[in-house]
Every structure is written in structure tokens, then in C-alpha cells.
């Protein structure tokens, strides 16, 4: 990887790439965005189709608690993946399990879980800050390019490929189940399996993205791209492509903004995403009027 970074830095010094790429950590961050955006943007169109926006927000919260759990269990500050993944997966499976067995509306149940994980997270974070500087914990909460390593990138690639492969296999069944679960079941779909599968895939993708865009804001990247794409798309193909395009644009744009204005990457990416959302909203409305 080192040779690649110096090659890119050479190109940047020669003026053939933006000056940002002189720094390996920015090149690494950009690579991360290139992998992350299609992964989360692609997932987002199913998240919105399956009405899991609030569910994703709850997972982001759970990640915060997961960080605290991981740190308390002695994981390294730079990569408390065990705590995050373990706790998020537990929360995701518990939410799906209870949702499938309760007659309460899903948003009510998720609200209960959200409160639970937040309360737990708050208590644990206080314990964590006795041992760590809160600014170090902040890096995980809000995401920081400085802390992304080649190992994180490799994990992102491996997980991204795995998630994409499983989604490729089950996409049609998942979308049919989102449109009408009873029709999907009548055609032999296993809606319980699909629901758990998607929850696990989403959790995994969110966890490996945390270090780059942060626990608090990861949810935005699995909801807003599809929300923006929905303003424009007519068919599933356009829906997917527009979701990925919005995620890529916001990712690259947010990265450029964050390095120039010295704001957290996560915050900048989400601001860029929101801007794109309102842009597509206006575009969609104008186009709708023209029809």
C-alpha cells in the first residue's frame, strides 16, 4: 500500500491530482469513501424500501453503546470492533425478534430499544471517560479520517464484497417482501429469514463504516441517498444508481469540505447529503410539474 500512496502523492505533486492526495491519510480516506458510498448507498435503497430508517438510527445509537462496551472490555481505542459489532448485532436481532412477535407498531418498539441503548450507553460512557480522554472517544463517535488504517480499509473491502454477494443472491426476494410480505410468502419467500438476513447485513455494513463517518452519523448514509434517489427515480435501476451516485457525491464532497474547513468528516458528509436531498426534492417537483 505504501508504494501506492507515494505514487498518488507523486501525481498530486506533479499537479495531475488535487493537492489533497499528497497526504496518504487523505488518499486512504478517499479510497474508503469510494468503497463505502456504493456499499451504504446501495444498501440505502433497500433500507428505505423496507422502512428501516428509524431502525438504522437505533443501530447508530447502539454503536455508541457498543464503543463503550468494547473499551470497557479492554479493546484498543482505535478499533473496538468486537464491542460495536457484538452490541449492534445483539440490538438488531433483538429488535427484529421482538418486532416479529409483538403487535405494537415497529416505530414504538424501536423507540423503546433506542431509549434502552441510549441510557445504557450514557452510563457506560461515563465509566469509559474515567479511563480515556473524551476526545479520543469522540473520534469514534463522529468519525475521523486520521484514525483510518489500511487494516480498516481491508476490512471494509472484505465486508463490502460479502454483503454485496449476499444481496445479489437475495435482492429480488427482499424487494418483493418489501412490497408485499403476504404475496412474497405465497410465492415461497421466507420472510423471517429475509428480515434477519437484511438486519445482519445492514448491521455489518454499518459497523465497518463507523470509523470513517462515525457512530452518530452512519445512519444518514443508509437513509438519505435513497431518499434523494426516490425524488428522481422511476424504476429500480435508476433508484439504485441514483442512490449510489448521491452517496459518492456526498462522500467525496464531504471529504473535501472536511479537510478544508477542519470539521468532522461525518458532519460534512451528512451536510452534503442533506443538500443533495433538498436539491433532488426541488428537481423532482419541477420535473413533476412539467409532466
Amino acid at each position: 500500500m505504501g508504494a501506492f500512496y507515494s505514487w498518488v502523492a507523486g501525481l498530486a505533486r506533479a499537479g495531475r491530482l488535487p493537492a489533497d492526495f499528497q497526504y496518504p491519510f487523505l488518499t486512504r480516506g478517499f479510497l474508503a469513501v469510494l468503497i463505502l458510498a456504493p456499499l451504504l448507498g446501495g444498501l440505502s435503497h433497500l433500507v428505505v424500501a423496507r422502512r428501516l430508517a428509524f431502525f438504522s438510527a437505533a443501530l447508530g445509537q447502539a454503536a455508541l453503546t457498543g464503543v463503550a462496551v468494547g473499551l470497557l472490555l479492554g479493546e484498543p481505542l482505535g478499533a473496538p470492533y468486537g464491542g460495536i459489532f457484538g452490541f449492534c448485532l445483539l440490538a438488531a436481532l433483538a429488535m427484529v425478534y421482538v418486532k416479529r412477535r409483538s403487535s405494537l407498531p415497529p416505530d414504538t418498539l424501536i423507540g423503546v430499544f433506542l431509549a434502552l441503548t441510549l441510557g445504557l450507553g450514557l452510563c457506560l460512557l461515563v465509566a469509559v471517560t474515567r479511563r480515556f480522554n473524551i476526545h479520543q472517544v469522540e473520534a469514534v463517535m463522529f468519525g475521523s479520517l486520521l484514525t483510518v488504517t489500511d487494516g480498516d480499509l481491508l476490512l471494509l473491502v472484505a465486508v463490502g464484497a460479502g454483503v454485496a454477494l449476499l444481496l445479489y443472491d437475495r435482492y429480488n426476494a427482499l424487494l418483493l417482501d418489501s412490497l408485499d410480505p403476504s404475496l412474497a410468502r405465497a410465492q415461497g419467500g421466507d420472510s423471517a429469514y429475509l428480515e434477519y438476513l437484511f438486519a445482519v447485513l445492514l448491521t455489518t455494513a454499518i459497523v465497518v463504516s463507523l470509523k470513517i463517518i462515525g457512530a452518530l452519523l452512519v445512519e444518514a448514509l443508509v437513509v438519505v441517498p435513497a431518499a434523494a434517489a426516490r425524488n428522481l427515480a422511476r424504476g429500480t435501476r435508476g433508484y439504485l444508481l441514483a442512490s449510489i451516485a448521491v452517496a459518492l457525491l456526498a462522500g467525496a464532497g464531504g471529504l473535501a469540505i472536511s479537510t478544508r474547513l477542519l470539521v468532522p468528516t461525518g458532519g460534512a458528509v451528512v451536510l452534503a447529503l442533506s443538500l443533495l436531498f433538498f436539491l433532488t426534492l426541488v428537481l423532482g417537483a419541477v420535473r413533476g410539474r412539467g409532466r
Partner: protein
């Protein structure tokens, strides 16, 4: 408690009555469904004959949709459901409409391709699937609507897309849940014509739940009047004329029914 189904054969006008009645295509025997302490269905027996159109009628809360869900194997029940068809035969199901979200950017051909190709639909349609879908849409009179988003279809068009989805590959039995609900009269008639045509050309058997009096009269070979149990089963004229057919006031408020106020709770 249950009324045993009167002996077949169904009085289908087109089919000559055979000396021995053929075995029914689908049989429900002493079916019961309970949810918590409430009995939703009890002692329901019903037989759908081959190439016949069997309609289940009854007031709201009579357990009609519950019966369909049980027959589709989607909810737990006691009793037996026996299907007399070759292995691998399937039921084609036409739901009332999309339960979840009609505003998703999904076109008609995207939707129909979901169960007709392995490749994810968002990566594009395979040419064989595209040809198959075009032919299918032409059969339900929707040729040329391939690229229209589902959200922009009328209720009748959406119902026909769902029908198209259910008849390819040809099922052993077509099950429709309230096919007339939310449709205007021409929409109801168009749907009825397609169902009759399917029966005529392919000998397709149909089981449907309906509230629509005119549709029942026009399509049904046999009617089951249901209110948590079977109140009556027989040809549509008898079902409409019998005391059990007090369902008319529920289906068409204000319209003169066969009975002024039938009471479902009163057994016949």
C-alpha cells in the same frame, strides 16, 4: 355445527355433468383458526372443484381473509387442507393491493421480473424475462405499460398486474382476495372477463373472496357464505335467495337485498 358441503357437481353451464363427480381440486376439512382466545374460524369445510369459480362471501370480520391465509399456509390452523394436484403445483395469489408502499420507484416490469429472473432486478432485466413479461401484460390487456411506475397505475391496472403475476407460470388454483375492492365498475368487469377467459382457455380453478354482489352473480359457480363457520354452500342463485344471503345489506348499503336485515349470528 358446520354445514356439510352439498354434493357436487357444480352446475357449470358449459361443462356437462359427469356420471361421477371428479375429486375436488382443493379441500378444507374441519378447518379452525384461533387467535389467543378468540375463535376466528371453526369447523369450516369447503371444496373447490376443478375448473370452477368458487366465491366466499360474508360480512366484515367473518374470517374470509383468515380462511384464505390458512389455505395459503400462512397462518396456523387446525383441521386439514388437501390439495389434489401433482407435486410442484402451486397456488397463484392475487392480494388486494400492496400492503406496504406503492410509491417506491418500481416499474411494472421491475415488479413482474422479481419472480421471473435470478439476476437482481435493479441491475436490469434479462431479455428472456423482458419478452415473457411483455407477453404476460398483453394477456391482461396492459401491453405497453412495462415502464410505468407502479405508483402511477390505477387501482384496476394494479390489480391486473397482480393477476398477471399470479398466472405465470399457470397455477393449479388462482386465489383472489377481494378483487373488486376499490375498483370502478368497468374495472371490476374487465377483471372478471380475464378470470372467465382463464377458466375457459386453461380450465383454471378460482377461489375468491368478494363483497361485490354483481361480480358474485356473474362469475360464481359456487358460493360459500361464511361467518366464522359455513352458513351455506351452493350455487349462487340459491345462496342469494337463501336466508343466509343476508350479506347483501353489508355489501351495498342502501341497495335492496334479498333479506331486509339478515342476521349473521343466526344459524340457518
Amino acid at each position: 355445527m358446520s354445514t356439510p358441503p352439498p354434493a357436487p357437481p357444480a352446475p357449470g353451464a358449459s361443462s356437462p355433468a359427469p356420471p361421477l363427480p371428479p375429486p375436488p381440486l382443493l379441500e378444507a376439512i374441519d378447518l379452525a383458526v384461533r387467535r389467543e382466545r378468540e375463535t376466528l374460524l371453526a369447523g369450516v369445510s369447503l371444496a373447490v372443484q376443478p375448473a370452477s369459480i368458487h366465491v366466499v362471501v360474508g360480512p366484515n370480520g367473518a374470517g374470509k381473509s383468515t380462511l384464505l391465509l390458512a389455505l395459503l399456509g400462512q397462518i396456523a390452523f387446525s383441521g386439514r387442507v388437501v390439495a389434489h394436484w401433482r407435486a410442484g403445483g402451486r397456488i397463484g395469489f392475487v392480494p388486494q393491493g400492496f400492503a406496504v408502499d406503492r410509491t417506491l420507484p418500481v416499474t411494472v416490469e421491475d415488479f413482474l421480473a422479481l419472480s421471473r429472473q435470478r439476476r437482481p432486478v435493479c441491475l436490469g432485466l434479462a431479455p428472456p424475462a423482458r419478452r415473457r413479461i411483455a407477453a404476460l401484460l398483453a394477456r391482461v390487456g396492459l401491453g405497453g405499460l412495462e415502464r410505468r411506475p407502479l405508483a402511477q397505475l390505477s387501482g384496476g391496472e394494479l390489480r391486473r398486474v397482480l393477476l398477471a403475476n399470479a398466472i405465470d407460470p399457470l397455477p393449479e388454483l388462482l386465489v383472489l382476495d377481494e378483487p373488486a375492492s376499490g375498483l370502478d365498475e368497468p374495472g371490476v368487469e374487465r377483471l372478471g372477463e380475464i378470470v372467465l377467459e382463464l377458466r375457459r382457455s386453461h380450465g383454471l380453478a378460482v377461489l375468491m373472496v368478494s363483497h361485490h354482489l354483481a361480480q358474485v352473480r356473474r362469475l360464481a359457480d359456487r358460493v360459500t357464505v361464511l361467518d366464522r363457520r359455513v352458513l351455506f354452500e351452493g350455487p349462487p342463485e340459491q345462496a342469494l335467495a337463501s336466508g343466509a344471503a343476508g350479506w347483501a345489506p353489508w355489501t351495498r348499503p342502501g341497495a335492496p337485498g334479498p333479506e331486509k336485515s339478515g342476521q349473521w349470528s343466526q344459524g340457518q
